[in-house]
Every structure is written in structure tokens, then in C-alpha cells.
């Protein structure tokens, strides 16, 4: 039984195993999906993350104890862990040229990989969307190949260009808007679809010329 505790005055949080892993994240999305379908009268909204789900409820319709009991009842049988349809698969074009990848050289130095190998390793896997957060449409994707794990910058950049493709340890993401950011910038996407939790993403390498062409369209 995962931990279920009051997390805010009007919310309860369910925390599964404290790991960033597809199996744990599956549970998060299965539970969210199930609770959304059940739509109890007190439910206001659900916020799924990597290993946890926040359940916001109407304080005039239920108490923490009632919500916790209801969630515990759901978790005590198997109904909630129906395997979900894998989300949509999206192909997203990424240019890995140094002109649009200010941290590429640093990532190569840190990993011992060539730029071509970084692009190859980053664009091979089918990533899952673990969660949306940080900013609208910012999708936390994983898992990056261990050979490409580089920690966040010590000091975040004040401004990351819109469309930057970045990595931080096992996570990767596209910055959907210019914003401050602390991840390693290894490429740029010119367009990307709206992503939902549990969707899949595969990156496709394009050249700088192709990227610039896309920008002008």
C-alpha cells in the first residue's frame, strides 16, 4: 500500500515507490486514470508526477480522512491497475548541431562521447512522458541512456531559447517557451506536438540546414 497523506489543506498525496521508473510511473497514471473515471463528487483535480499523485478535493464535500479512506479502498483491490493504452507515439525532429546546442561540447567532454554519438544515443530510445510540469506543456521524458547521463548545471541559465532540447541525468525535455533552465542543452526542435502523460516520444535527427528550412516555413 503506497503512502497516502494530507499534502495540503485541500489535498491528499499518494506516493508510490520513491524511484523514477516506468513501472512506478505506470501505477501513477493508472491510479489517476481510474480516479478520473470514477469521478467522486469531492474530486477537483489530480496532479500526477513521477511516483506520486496529488488529489485536490472540495473541502465542503469531504475531509482528508474520507478521501484517504476512499483512495485506500480503491488501492486495496486490482480494479485500478488496468494496463493503460500506451499513449500516442510522437516523432519530433531535433537538430543537434553545435549552433543550436550550447552544451554539446561540455556533454561530450563529460561523457567521452562524440557529438555524433550523443545525437545517436539521444535519438534512439522511445521515451515516455512521465509527467507535465514546471511550465505549461513542459513534458518530463525518460529514460535517457546511462552513457549520456549528465547532471544539471550548477547555475541555471537565465534564458533557455524556446524549443531547446535538454538532458539532466535520466530525464530529457523540450523547453516549450524561453525560460530560465538548468538542464544541458544538446539540440533544438522547431516544432513539437502537445504531449500528454504516458505518451511516447522518439526524436529524429535533422541537419542544421533542414532545421533552418523548417524555421522559415
Amino acid at each position: 500500500m503506497p503512502a497516502i497523506k494530507a499534502a495540503a489543506i485541500n489535498a491528499v498525496q499518494i506516493s508510490f515507490e520513491q524511484r523514477i521508473a516506468p513501472t512506478v510511473n505506470d501505477q501513477v497514471h493508472q491510479l489517476s486514470h481510474y480516479l478520473n473515471e470514477q469521478a467522486p463528487a469531492w474530486l477537483q483535480e489530480l496532479v500526477p508526477a513521477y511516483h506520486s499523485v496529488m488529489v485536490y478535493f472540495d473541502v465542503l464535500k469531504a475531509s482528508h480522512d474520507e478521501v484517504i479512506a476512499a483512495v485506500r479502498a480503491v488501492l486495496s483491490n486490482d480494479q485500478w491497475c488496468q494496463p493503460l493504452q500506451p499513449g500516442q507515439l510522437h516523432q519530433i525532429e531535433v537538430c543537434y548541431a553545435p549552433e543550436v546546442a550550447p552544451d554539446l561540447a561540455r556533454v561530450c567532454a563529460a561523457t567521452g562521447l562524440s557529438a555524433a554519438q550523443v545525437a545517436e544515443l539521444h535519438s534512439s530510445p522511445e521515451y515516455r512522458v512521465y509527467a507535465l510540469g514546471f511550465a505549461p506543456q513542459f513534458a518530463y521524458l525518460g529514460d535517457v541512456n546511462p552513457a549520456l547521463h549528465v547532471p544539471r548545471l550548477d547555475t541555471p541559465r537565465q534564458r533557455v531559447p524556446q524549443g531547446s532540447v535538454a538532458i539532466a541525468l535520466q530525464q530529457t525535455a523540450i523547453y516549450p517557451q524561453a525560460s530560465p533552465g538548468g538542464w544541458n542543452l544538446i539540440g533544438r526542435a522547431s516544432s513539437w506536438p502537445q504531449l500528454a502523460p504516458n505518451d511516447r516520444v522518439q526524436f529524429q535527427e535533422i541537419s542544421l540546414a533542414e532545421y533552418q528550412q523548417r524555421q522559415h516555413q
Binding site: 499534502a7 496532479v47 508526477a49 518530463y140 525560460s179
Partner: protein, 314 residues
């Protein structure tokens, strides 16, 4: 819709806010809405508005507007003098304005935010059913793109009704918060509370904090003499409620407010009560802050009472 005001001076920051943009946290879209809900809800109640009617949140005063058509206004929150054609107006009660009048909300010595409300509510281009302005998300406001209110902006009221005698509602004076240079914030234990040591629980409430100038609608950084220490590994990013008190590596608390990002990776020692958030929304830089531990049940009862009183639902 009637054009009600033309902005002559927006001051430090003025944003259009309704009660908030809800139901979208799972998409990384934060709620926005009034930093000081108490003042916002009172302004709408005084005017007989729906609780969600949009108002102008004025930060640090310096707001000046020309009235374009007859209307009924109220100003709540904490500011300096409210002047209509240079005549002092009482805040926290409705007052009639006429075309050609000039309204000024001056900066106050204490407090930070005031709320200018109109009978019927101000209009904006709703995005995801809300006009709440969240600048960092580029959502809400007059045009839906997250821009604050600016000089020469014209604001419309959704409906203009003639003033009625029932609109002289004003809260009893002992319900109007008095803002000074010090404030106590009630906080309830949640999240990683148990993983902080008892010594840290005590330290949080025993020492005096100062609201720093590193504050905005996303969050308020507090400075205390001794850091709150976290002895464990980094946590995995998890959902972040409004009012959460995060403890970053340097041990100085950051309290998350209405424009906060939806997921956060710093441990949280607790969450503010509803009145704590309202009070912090009025704590300009330099305000002295003390925390006070309260049981969660007390915070819940307060929120229930408040939402029942103001008819907040949905």
C-alpha cells in the same frame, strides 16, 4: 459591456485576476488568481458580485485611472490613500464613480496589494475559462496572453447595474486585517515534515524571518539567521501546493504562491493556512515574519468557514 476605466498609470504591477484557472495542474498550468484571497473575496461580496468576478490586483499602489462611465467600485486589500478626484475614499466599502472622475490608489506604508473591483466584474479574454493573469505562462489578462495591465489600457465591465442600497455592505471593522511591519503565519505539517528534525521544527517557529525582496507572484523567499537543514537525499519532483514552504539547499524558506510551478523538487516542511497565504501576500520586503505550528484540522476548519461564507464553489 461598458468601457469603465482608462489606465493612466499602472504602477509597479497591475494584473487582471479572477479567482483562478483550475483543473489544469496536470498539464503544467498553474492557477494564478488573487494573492490575497480574503481581500479579493470581500471586494466581490461588497459589490454583490459573483465570487469569481475579475478585479485588478494593484501591487504597491501608484495606480491611476480615468473613469469613462458611471459605475460602482470598491477597493480592498492594503494600500495607501484611495482618492477619487483627490477626495479620500473609504476602502472596504462600495462607492459610486462618474464619467470623468479620476481614481488614484496610492502606495501605503505597510501592505503590498490592493484590489480594485467594479460591480459586474472586469472583462478579459478568457483562456481555459479564466482571465487570471499568469505572466510566466503567457496566459490570462485583458488579451489572454499573460500581459499585465498597462498605461492606456481600457477596461470594460461585464455588466453595469445601477447602484442599489444593498451595496453598502462593508465588513465589520474587526474583520478587516490591520497590516503592520510584522506578521505571524500559521503553518501545518505536511510532506517531508517528519524527515526534518524536531530541532528544525522548533527553529522554524522560534526565529524571526524577514520577507526578502526576492519575491513575486510565484513565491516569497524568507531570510532567517539560522538555516533549516535537510539531512537526506534530494527528493523526486512532486506536486507543489500553493502555500508550500520549500527548504532549498541554503536552508532559507521559499513559500510558494499563486503563480508557482506545478511540480517542485525541494523538500517541504509544511504548508501555510489560508489566512497565512493572505497575510504573506501583504508582506512587502522587510516585513518581519514568524511561523506558528497549527494542527491541520484548524487550517481545514478555517478554509471551510471562509469558502462557505463567500460561497466559493466549483
Amino acid at each position: 459591456m461598458t468601457a469603465v476605466i482608462k489606465v493612466i498609470q499602472a504602477g509597479l504591477l497591475a494584473t487582471l485576476q479572477d479567482f483562478g484557472r483550475f483543473g489544469l495542474l496536470a498539464r503544467g498550468i498553474t492557477c494564478g488568481g488573487p494573492m490575497d484571497e480574503r481581500s479579493f473575496l470581500w471586494a466581490n461580496r461588497i459589490l454583490g458580485n459573483h465570487f469569481n468576478s475579475a478585479q485588478i490586483e494593484v501591487t504597491a499602489g501608484g495606480f491611476k485611472a480615468q473613469i469613462l462611465n458611471d459605475a460602482v467600485f470598491a477597493v480592498t486589500g492594503q494600500s495607501g490613500a484611495v482618492l477619487l478626484n483627490q477626495q479620500l475614499q473609504s476602502p472596504w466599502r462600495s462607492f459610486a464613480v462618474r464619467a470623468g472622475d479620476e481614481l488614484v490608489i496610492q502606495p501605503g506604508q505597510h501592505g503590498l496589494r490592493s484590489y480594485l473591483a467594479v460591480a459586474g466584474g472586469f472583462s478579459g479574454a478568457a483562456v481555459y475559462n479564466s482571465v487570471a493573469t499568469v505572466m510566466r505562462d503567457g496566459l490570462g489578462g485583458l488579451h489572454g496572453d499573460g500581459r499585465p495591465i498597462a498605461t492606456n489600457d481600457i477596461l470594460y465591465a461585464a455588466q453595469a447595474e445601477p447602484p442599489s442600497s444593498s451595496w453598502s455592505r462593508t465588513p465589520h471593522s474587526n474583520l478587516i486585517p490591520r497590516v503592520t511591519d510584522r506578521v505571524t503565519l500559521d503553518i501545518a505539517a505536511v510532506a517531508q515534515h517528519e524527515q526534518f528534525s524536531p530541532a528544525m521544527h522548533k527553529r522554524l517557529v522560534q526565529q524571526e524571518y524577514t520577507a526578502s525582496s526576492a519575491q513575486d507572484r510565484m513565491g516569497v523567499r524568507l531570510d532567517g539567521h539560522l538555516p533549516i537543514s535537510w539531512e537526506h537525499e534530494q527528493i523526486i519532483s512532486e506536486p507543489l501546493p500553493v502555500g508550500a514552504v520549500q527548504i532549498p539547499p541554503d536552508g532559507q524558506p521559499i513559500v510558494m504562491m499563486k503563480d508557482r510551478q506545478t511540480l517542485g523538487g525541494y523538500p517541504k516542511i509544511g504548508v501555510l493556512s489560508w489566512s497565512g497565504i493572505c497575510a504573506l501576500a501583504q508582506a512587502g520586503p522587510g516585513t518581519k515574519i514568524h511561523f506558528n505550528w497549527i494542527p491541520m484540522t484548524q487550517a481545514v476548519q478555517e478554509l471551510q468557514r471562509v469558502y462557505r461564507f463567500f460561497g466559493v464553489h466549483g
